[in-house]
Symmetry: C2
Subunit: 322 residues, 2 copies
């Protein structure tokens, strides 16, 4: 199966892991996502390890290689524009999140997808991480009954950020960039659509990073009458033991499931139990499985679009509250 | 110092602990809060241990005993009405939360307080618990810089609840009864006023308990541009190791403080540190100290009124969303 990669600015290393593990996968081509994305070192490394052909321009690459799958991983404000080119050519598209920065762009992308007949998935790779997958499995198996109240958290170290993070036009906002994972967990664990309600975000003390928001909260209504909230921040101190402090907690009628410190826990009528970590899957591998027709991708196209939509609507609400 | 107790339906045992520990405190009288509150066993026990005089009627008791302090602990929908009688007589008033069930009642009570010249405090006893006090001390000492994002949680076992919990008129709502603690932590940790914004609560799967809400979320804006959220539920399974799962997390510009599983943690530039638990104080003892003029009560009258107000406004917002 022939794969090409466009850009090297995100979580593509998962793709490389999958290619290393599956001899039927070939990384045939690589091109930067844009002229200003410096991928020299990455291109050299891919050429060396995988014998990948390097192209200066991704459109030429798509047309010459005619790959089965394109991995879209440019500066992420180009995700939608590049994915459209991929889908227009009937190529399966594995795209960094957020897949679009505005609702208009998202709607446009979704239309390209509907006409394409191929698979499209956003890199919501937490769905394959051992603790989150274990929590989801418990919810899915009915161990907490009906989910009624969900809370989720993303807390990141700010570190250094490239210049395009400082402008809304190119960054999109912290809710779509960071919060989107928490929002996707809420949708996923709820097993139903979520309706963005109130949201806030703030730029105060953002270390001079222009329009980048460093705090946010979003609330959602669940279709079943339940509700959810997530909190997002970039204030995890440099001295913290890990980059992120990712959490989700799902309160159901018969139990509570939680992911905290990369461990999943269930509390039910019999007490508190640590859930055995699911064997970590590779999201891209599940994408390949779906293209092959052997199994379903852990992230559907609908998941990709709906979670992005919820994030963009939440950001828009937060903007109105600024 | 002469103390009387009205009613025995809440957290009065703290008061008894303080009396046991301080030989200058005398529990002179006890009366039920209402004719339908059965305090027979408690009255006998108080009589036996403290030589307390038992009255059938609290007004008679207040007028005959002329105590320094009255502890108001009836069925809690009577808190405001009884506290008004206490304050009208110029008696210091230590009152179960919520101190009122409606904004009108709260406003009325506050007017009585303003004219009374005595101290009034709600039983926000978590302020004296070792982990919460340690977290607050760290925030107060500036260890996290300026608080920008606060999340808090109350999760309780439902257990069995007396009939008055099933009617809004007598119960007041889960946000004022349970959530009020989380709301008080947010105000306290923020060190500034909080403005209720959006709130939800739900009665779905409330085990047939009428109007009792079993889930809730509230959001708040902080005066400094920050924001906060709290989530509340009665779905902690019977098998859980403790009755409650109380949490607060305060994200500041220079660090993050958290209370989780009754331990307080600080993350700052040097890493993650467990905070030494503060020596647990007894809130009622600090109330007595303020009446004596030797120290300040850990809960001011303003705290009592403002946190209650935020809870009642949040509940009213949630009602509109039902």
């Amino acid at each position: 199966m022939k794969i090409v990669q466009i850009g090297g600015s995100g979580h593509y290393y998962q793709v490389l892991d999958a290619i290393r593990a599956d001899r039927d996968l070939l990384l045939a081509g690589f091109a930067p996502g844009s002229g200003d994305e410096d991928c020299t070192e990455l291109a050299k490394a891919l050429e060396r390890e995988f014998g990948t052909e390097i192209y200066p321009d991704f459109l030429t690459m798509l047309d010459e290689e005619k790959p089965d799958i394109a991995v879209v991983n440019p500066y992420f404000y180009l995700n939608a524009a590049i994915s459209k080119e991929v889908l227009a050519r009937g190529i399966n598209c594995y795209c960094e999140k957020p897949v679009a920065l505005t609702l208009e762009e998202l709607n446009d992308l979704e239309n390209y997808y509907r006409k394409s007949g191929v698979h499209f998935a956003a890199m919501f790779e937490y769905r394959c991480s051992p603790a989150f997958a274990a929590a989801y499995a418990a919810v899915k198996e009915g161990k907490i009954g009906e989910p009624l109240l969900i809370t989720a958290q993303k807390s990141y170290k700010l570190g250094t950020r490239p210049p395009f993070y400082t402008r809304r036009e190119t960054y999109g906002g912290t809710i779509p960039w960071v919060g989107i994972h928490a929002i996707d967990w809420i949708r996923w664990m709820a097993g139903q659509e979520i309706i963005p309600d109130q949201s806030f975000h703030g730029r105060k003390y953002n270390s001079g990073l222009g329009e980048l928001e460093v705090t946010a909260i979003c609330t959602f209504r669940l279709a079943n009458g339940g509700f959810a909230t997530c909190n997002i921040d970039y204030f995890r101190p440099a001295g913290a033991p890990t980059h992120g402090d990712d959490r989700v907690r799902v309160v159901g009628t018969d139990g509570i499931v939680e992911v905290l410190r990369e461990r999943a826990t269930l509390i039910d009528k019999d007490g508190e139990h640590e859930l055995p970590a699911e064997r970590g899957k590779n999201l891209f591998q599940t994408f390949v499985d779906q293209v092959r027709g052997t199994a379903k991708c852990a992230v559907s196209a609908e998941d990709s679009f709906k979670s992005t939509e919820a994030a963009l609507i939440s950001r828009n609400i937060a903007d109105k509250n600024m």
